[in-house]
């Protein structure tokens, strides 16, 4: 009798890439719902645009590379990239910028380097930074949470603006957009205002920006669920948030009127999203557990530095990309001690 032979181990494998990616998508959902609740239909339109264009670009390139398309699309990595990008950009961003961002992320940052697993930079963040530098006005025109919106737009009006640049009669763009809390804090601090003064603005909620704090909260829930399901390890998010809060606490204790309180840093911008969903992208992060602590903490510290003294109000994308560059070196110097190479009880 002839048997077919394969290499050991001969077990049913327990994990799958597409399952991992699906878990990331599921963990994002509560935060996405919260975002859509506070910031309107634009969020969902961005997501639809990004997912469709990312999938199309991925399929196109895989075809050009003469590889089987279906398994690559089914690994859902393009969908995760699209989601992370779509929730980082302003809800009113013109449609072609969304598509441009996805083209850059999927074609240049991901597939040009060899596709999933080979890209040194986080595609969603690279695309975000490209747009932020090239189209700073569009990328910083955020909507206020619905409670503060004086002239809320209905879905048709949002579509009209995103696709044709047409606003309803008598509405000015300045009237419907508003700075993000981070932006507002930055601008006012630059004007030498006191933090207690700045916080009088209606944009501020209980522990962060109004609306933002709850979006961050739901992303936090999703992130904790991913740690629980072992989709991600605890090292990167904990070190990231630790680094950020650590820096914030030191400076806040030093001067509470010039440096915002630590919770502000956690719940006003992309810190939670970044810590659990962006910095943890395994492809571009460190893989050794010790390295992940260094990597995460460094991103946290960089976020604080850029937010406080840099030119941009939020800094997660820059910090993540900077540390992406350092990841291989950190990995090299944090290799674990192999069994039998010194150490061990005697």
């Amino acid at each position: 009798m002839e048997f077919h032979t394969t290499s050991s181990p001969h077990t049913r494998r327990v994990n799958r890439v597409d399952k991992v990616m699906l878990q990331v998508v599921l963990a994002l959902l509560p935060g996405i719902v919260a975002m859509a609740f506070y910031f309107g239909w634009g969020v969902l339109i961005n997501i639809a645009l990004a997912v469709i264009s990312a999938t199309a670009f991925e399929a196109l390139i895989i075809r050009l590379r003469k590889r089987p398309v279906t398994p690559v699309l089914l690994d859902l990595s393009a969908v995760v990239t699209a989601l992370l990008f779509a929730i980082a950009i302003p809800p009113l961003l013109p449609w072609w910028l969304v598509v441009l961002g996805m083209a850059f992320a999927i074609i240049m940052v991901k597939q040009m380097y060899g596709g999933l697993g080979y890209n040194p930079f986080n595609p969603a963040m690279a695309a975000y930074v490209l747009l932020l530098i090239s189209y700073p006005v569009e990328m910083t025109s955020w909507l206020p949470p619905f409670m503060l919106a004086e002239q809320p737009l209905n879905p048709a009006q949002i579509l009209a603006y995103k696709f044709a640049g047409i606003l309803p009669e008598g509405v000015m763009l300045d009237a419907i957009t508003m700075a993000t809390p981070l932006d507002q804090m930055r601008t006012n601090l630059d004007l030498n205002r006191m933090i207690s003064e700045i916080r009088q603005h209606p944009l501020w909620g209980d522990f962060g920006g109004l609306g933002w704090e709850w979006v961050g909260n739901w992303f936090l829930m999703g992130g904790i669920w991913m740690v629980y399901k072992r989709t991600i390890t605890w090292q990167i998010p904990l070190a990231f948030l630790g680094g950020l809060v650590g820096m914030a606490t030191i400076f806040w204790l030093f001067d509470a009127e010039s440096f915002p309180f630590p919770l502000f840093h956690l719940f006003s911008g992309g810190a939670i999203l970044g810590a659990f969903f962006i910095a943890t992208d395994p492809v571009t992060a460190c893989t050794t557990r010790a390295g992940q602590l260094i990597y995460g903490a460094s991103i946290g510290v960089l976020v604080y530095i850029i937010r406080t003294w840099g030119g941009y109000p939020d800094a997660v994308a820059f910090a993540v990309l900077l540390m992406n560059m350092a990841a291989p070196t950190i990995d090299y110097y944090t290799r674990p001690r192999t069994y039998g190479h010194g150490g061990g009880a005697v």
């Binding site: 290499s7 001969h10 050794t288 990995d331 069994y339």
Partner: protein
């Protein structure tokens, strides 16, 4: 963590890095009591069932042999004799498929049993082993053909002469691989044999303590072994947590002693010797009864087997015959037959290979149990492999460099400390056959080392030839010059010029030699010697030889294909 290991005694346990909780599937083969396999019509005994030098046949075709008679042996220090498992006639001595991942054939002695099962003359039992000389016991163990029965098949007698004081003797009954229950069955049913073996081994090694380690998923075996303990002896039964691969020698040493075997070193270096429970039982038989190693317990299991269970099989019984004893295959066309467990066992391409001293399990899974691997996807560097690696390696980095064929780099990541346990492959979300990449990288590294040695040798010969020719040339020139000088002598013209020329020639020669020496040194420095290949364990050496053998076969085959005539 502390566990009770003996009445009124607790032991501290340590942990190794990583490991996996796997579905055990052990109950399947524990439903039936130990079964004696009936003698088949033919026994095929490979001359090499151990690591080391192959045994040479001591019988000829047509000879009548008796049960327990030596039929092959070797005077080489690292070797093991083969005994007739039953009485019968030698049918054939020749090449026969043997259990090997590559489906190789090897020289075997084929015996047709006569059905009498008549014992030959056995050596005198050594009942009072405590007053026996260690050397005598060691010789008995060697002559009984006993090798490591946990799968390593290293001749046991050699491990009993460590040349270093041994603090801890470990009897390995962990049996951590799923499905396999032969050691469990042995400890449950024949605890006394195992314990006697442990006593003999402890006496021979004069170890301070003897620890019989059993995973805590085998309470019956632990109880049976506990009942054999005696107050006055320094033997303990240690219940270790079930965690694959706790039965790996290095991992078990770590669990029980907290110490780590240095890389490419031996357990004796940290004062430890490990023997499998089945080996201990075989040693007890050899010493107390004079019975050589001619049979072993094999687990025949998997959802593709009608009556899974443990069978005591004579060595040389064909896997197919043994499976027939276990009720045969359930399916008309079973898809896979694994020798060993699901994690580290290898696939057989035929069931017409014999049971040997190291065969612990035949596993016939259904397609549902062991699905064919899905196509591998790209590594996403999630690091789960590193989390479970019991050697604390970085499998994803090793994969990366193996794939890139950067052998130097992959050795930097301690490739040779990989025990090929399969944990990394098991958890990989991209279904990459990681272990296969490491085997490939190891084989390539050995081949490269071999090539390097050969080219070094060739270069030395070449350099020697060049310097010899130069020397001859110089000698010829010197002779010529001398002749000329002799001719010129009467004239006695310009003697200083000719001597200056000679000195110039010598200086030139010296410069050439110095340059050659420098070049050789530089070359030696540039060549990167694979790490861990100088100080190989016997098991690694055997692997290397097996790989070389496969290469040779493959090369021959290729040549044949290229030049059919």
């Amino acid at each position: 963590m502390y566990v009770e290991s003996k009445k009124g005694k607790t032991r501290e346990l340590w942990q190794f890095h990583g490991g996996l909780h796997l579905p055990e599937k052990k109950e399947m083969s524990l439903q039936r009591p130990l079964q004696q396999a009936r003698l088949p019509s033919r026994l095929v005994l490979p001359l090499q069932q151990h690591i080391g030098v192959q045994a040479q046949p001591l019988v000829a075709v047509g000879d009548r042999v008796l049960k327990g008679e030596v039929i092959a042996g070797s005077a080489a220090p690292v070797s093991a004799p083969v005994h007739a498992p039953t009485s019968g006639i030698v049918l054939e001595i020749g090449e026969h498929p043997v259990p090997h991942p590559s489906g190789l054939t090897a020289p075997c002695i084929v015996i047709e049993p006569d059905g009498d099962d008549r014992w030959g003359e056995l050596p005198e039992p050594i009942g009072d082993f405590r007053s026996a000389d260690s050397e005598l016991l060691r010789r008995r163990i060697r002559e009984s053909g006993i090798v490591g029965m946990g799968g390593a098949t290293f001749p046991s007698a050699i491990k009993l002469n460590p040349g270093k004081p041994i603090k801890t003797l470990i009897i390995n009954g962990a049996e951590c691989e799923p499905y396999i229950t032969c050691d469990d069955r042995l400890m449950r049913d024949q605890a006394e044999r195992v314990m006697n073996g442990a006593r003999i081994l402890q006496h021979m090694l004069q170890s301070e303590e003897c620890l019989i380690a059993v995973e805590d998923n085998k309470p019956e075996a632990i109880l049976a072994m506990f009942q054999q303990l005696r107050e006055e002896e320094n033997i303990e039964v240690v219940r270790i947590p079930t965690l694959y691969p706790s039965g790996g020698e290095k991992q078990l040493i770590r669990i029980l002693t907290g110490r780590e075997v240095p890389t490419s070193g031996l357990p004796a270096q940290v004062g430890v010797i490990c023997h499998n429970v089945a080996t201990a039982a075989a040693i007890a038989d050899a010493v107390l009864e004079g019975r050589p190693l001619i049979s072993r317990i094999v687990t025949v299991t998997g959802e593709g087997i009608s009556e899974p269970g443990n069978l005591e099989a004579p060595l040389g019984m064909l896997a197919g015959d043994l499976i027939a004893e276990a009720g045969g295959y359930l399916q008309a066309r079973p898809k896979q037959l694994i020798l060993g467990g699901p994690m580290m066992g290898f696939d057989l391409n035929s069931d017409q290979v014999p049971i040997t001293k190291g065969t612990n399990c035949l596993l016939c899974p259904t397609a549902k149990e062991a699905p064919a691997p899905q196509p591998a996807r790209a590594c996403i560097r999630c690091g789960r492999c590193a989390d479970v690696c019991p050697a604390n390696l970085l499998p994803q980095q090793m994969y990366w460099y193996s794939r890139a064929k950067d052998l130097e780099k992959v050795q930097d990541y301690n490739l040779f400390d990989c025990i090929e346990c399969g944990c990394c492959s098991h958890v990989c979300p991209s279904h990459i056959p990681l272990v296969q990449y490491y085997r490939y990288a190891k084989a390539e590294s050995w081949a490269l080392e071999q090539e390097r040695r050969e080219s070094e040798h060739a270069k030395q010969r070449h350099d020697f030839r060049v310097s010899r020719l130069q020397r001859l040339e110089a000698e010829r020139k010197a002779k010529l010059r001398k002749k000329k000088e002799d001719l010129k002598k009467p004239a006695a013209a310009k003697p200083e010029a000719s001597s200056g020329e000679a000195a110039g020639g010598d200086a030139k020669q010296a410069a050439i030699e110095a340059a050659m020496r420098r070049a050789a040194e530089k070359k030696a420095k540039q060549q990167h010697a694979p790490k861990n290949t100088d100080n190989l364990t016997a098991a690694q050496q055997a692997q290397i030889e097996a790989v070389d053998e496969r290469r040779k076969v493959a090369r021959k085959k290729k040549q044949k294909e290229e030049h059919p005539r």
